[in-house]
């Protein structure tokens, strides 16, 4: 492009006409004096600061609104009761005195109840007009289904919730009209009773419907969605409930204050996209040469943390890492999951660097709460 031509385009037009060279020119400026940055002004490892608001909905037991840049998502958690008689393959757990499972191991009976009886129902709705490609009237797209499934599996593998909070008990002991909905002070009552007859059994469960709605989407839906789920669950308070055997239903108490859920851990997701200097078409043609690392220009790539919509459309490869630093102090950061797809550039070294970035992201989310 001639420097003094009268046909110079504004940057917005340039971005629309040839997006890949535009981003490349920003990340690798021809002029050495201009600093390199992304098109939105951020550095490659700089993520958007999150803003979190909780308790905004009156008909939900817990709710949160999370904003990272222009991505806005609302999460509402509602509890509904499910009688054990309605569960087809219900089997009472072997021992009711299971305490909080801190390892989150899926093999413990606590986690398996949550999984087997479908007590957690997350769903992500993208078709709200949050971006021009997500209009209502069509069934959920692949992206929406993938996001819902990823949130679902992370909810279960992270061991965030304890099934003890979701159990609704039926007290069998005589003369007891105290409202108990699964409290720890039942230990004395159980010890006092004879071992033959169980003092209480599970009459019903709470089922948590976790619904996420995207008001606005500007890239990186998973991080925002997971943060909203975490914030809403921390905000959720379920009413005290007991199973009434005469009426065969669950009755909730209005007199007593609602009980918050016990959340163990604080997992935070950090996503990054990989931007390569060569465009997709040219990359496939030079596949063979890349392994040798001969051409320096073709091997250059940038890791863009917290990509926005423009960057996501130009990148094929995406890496997500989920960390939990809540142990703090001298304990190691826990990694709950690493997932990567779309290309072969990211290797163990990049993931190690990304884990460091994820720790700073964890701190940013922790401070936003």
């Amino acid at each position: 492009m001639a420097a003094q031509s009268s046909l110079t385009l504004s940057s917005a037009t340039f971005a629309k006409l040839s997006p890949h060279p535009y981003l490349l020119a920003n990340l690798r400026p021809a002029d050495a004096s201009t600093p390199s940055s992304r098109t939105n002004g951020r550095q490659p490892t700089q993520a958007r600061p999150p803003a979190i608001n909780t308790s905004s909905l009156s008909h939900a037991h817990g709710s949160a609104v999370v904003r990272t840049g222009d991505t806005t998502v609302i999460c509402g958690v509602r509890g509904e009761t499910l009688a054990t008689s309605q569960i087809p393959n219900y089997r009472p757990p072997l021992s009711l005195s299971l305490s909080l499972s801190s390892t989150g191991d899926a093999s413990t009976p606590s986690a398996s109840e949550l999984l087997n009886y479908d007590l957690l129902v997350p769903n992500i709705e993208l078709a709200t007009g949050c971006a021009p490609e997500f209009l209502p009237g069509v069934p959920p797209t692949t992206l929406a289904q993938t996001l819902s499934t990823r949130v679902y599996s992370l909810l279960h593998t992270s061991g965030l919730l304890d099934v003890e909070d979701l159990r609704i008990y039926h007290e069998k002991s005589e003369g007891e009209d105290e409202d108990v909905g699964g409290e720890k002070n039942d230990e004395e009552m159980r010890d006092a009773d004879s071992v033959d007859v169980p003092a209480r059994e599970i009459g019903a469960y709470w089922v948590l419907y976790i619904d996420l709605l995207f008001i606005s989407l500007d890239g990186n839906p998973f991080d925002a969605a997971w943060a909203a789920v975490l914030a809403a669950l921390r905000d959720t308070k379920l009413p005290r409930a007991r199973w009434d055997a005469d009426r065969e239903m669950v009755l909730c108490s209005r007199r007593e204050p609602a009980v918050p859920l016990s959340i163990s851990g604080f997992p935070v997701a950090c996503t990054a996209a990989v931007f390569t200097a060569k465009e997709r078409l040219k990359q496939s043609q030079s596949q063979g040469r890349r392994a040798g690392g001969g051409d320096a220009a073709s091997a250059s790539f940038w890791i863009l943390v917290d990509p926005d919509r423009f960057e996501e459309s130009l990148c094929d490869e995406v890496v997500t890492i989920i960390v939990d630093c809540s142990a703090g102090g001298d304990q190691d950061t826990k990694i709950l999951g690493i997932s990567k797809s779309g290309g072969t550039i990211v290797g163990p070294e990049v993931i190690r660097r990304l884990a460091k970035v994820a720790e700073t992201r964890w701190q940013a989310f922790r401070d936003a709460f």
């Binding site: 222009d70 609302i74 949050c130 209502p136 959920p140 089922v207 419907y209 619904d211 009413p239």
Partner: protein, 289 residues
């Protein structure tokens, strides 16, 4: 079907929580008859859409965590080209979608659109069609999507309410107001801004005579005889949509006309809020540029 593509809950039926005692008494602060509730309206909440707006209605006697009772968001995408297979149309094709969020009302709503949402969509389309200058955009379509984040129901209302058909009127008037702000934010040519308002004929206590109330807070009244929701263009003094429901006691012949006249007052109040919000957006843009 949608079932395969979403995470479904357990196969057994789940019930919402049922309490063993009735809810606490509602605070006796009454809403004034001739004023509408305060509206918070903001445009530009979805930057990637052509236009967007967010509306909240204040709740006068707030007991729960939030002090607003109706929350709506609207996004407008367009005008965009119609697909090639669509026949030629000399004017713009308006498509409206209204959807309740699952956590919006006391009863959990599913993800599939049901008949009440389709009904709201049709009313909204009729209300907006009269305001848009359709001839300027041949062979184009515009999508207006309203998401109801929280319906107008009162959390502590007694369970034996007369059905939520009356709440739908309040929701529709909010939808009309927020859609009109979003359309203006998108830059689609209109003859005027539409505003929605509701007026109802209610009996506040079992013994009081029927009286007309603007922007009814449904749970406060003993009995609602009739209600009407009107979409109004204030500068041109034109009505684009009327939705009237209920039975008027037969004694007074002019009762219907009075109800409609009072409803127009509510529409004018709502329109003032829309105009103020749009002026703020324009001023902010002028300061930036």
């Amino acid at each position: 079907m949608a079932d395969r593509r979403r995470i479904n809950g357990p196969v057994g039926a789940t019930l919402p929580p049922i309490y063993d005692s009735p809810p606490g008494s509602r605070s006796s602060a009454e809403k004034p008859d001739n004023a509408i509730r305060k509206i918070f309206l903001k445009t530009g909440v979805t930057p990637s859409a052509s236009g967007s707006a967010y509306l909240e209605l204040e709740k006068p006697n707030a007991t729960g965590p939030s002090n607003t009772s109706l929350k709506l968001t609207c996004t407008v995408h367009g005008p965009r080209a119609l697909p090639r297979s669509a026949p030629f149309s000399p004017h713009i094709i308006l498509t409206t979608h209204v959807k309740y969020a699952p956590f919006a009302t006391k009863q959990r709503r599913g993800y599939l659109r049901d008949s009440s949402e389709r009904d709201l969509g049709v009313h909204l389309e009729t209300a907006l069609r009269g305001a848009i200058i359709a001839d300027r955009w041949p062979k184009s379509g515009v999508d207006i999507i309203v998401t109801i984040i929280e319906g107008d129901q009162d959390r502590n209302a007694p369970e034996s309410q007369r059905g939520d058909g009356w709440y739908t009127m309040n929701v529709l008037s909010g939808c009309i107001t927020v859609a009109s702000a979003a359309i203006a934010d998108a830059g689609i040519d209109c003859v005027d801004t539409v505003a929605g308002g509701v007026a109802a004929l209610v009996a506040k206590t079992p013994k009081s005579p029927p009286s007309i109330v603007l922007d009814p807070a449904i749970a406060d009244y003993h009995k609602i005889y009739a209600a009407c929701c009107i979409a109004y263009l204030p500068t041109r003094d034109e009505v684009t949509n009327v939705w009237f429901k209920g039975q008027l006691p037969g004694a007074d012949v002019m009762l219907y006309n009075n109800l409609v006249e009072r409803c127009l007052v509510a529409c004018r109040d709502a329109n003032r809020v829309v105009v103020m919000a749009l002026k703020k957006t324009i001023n902010a843009e002028q300061e930036v540029s």
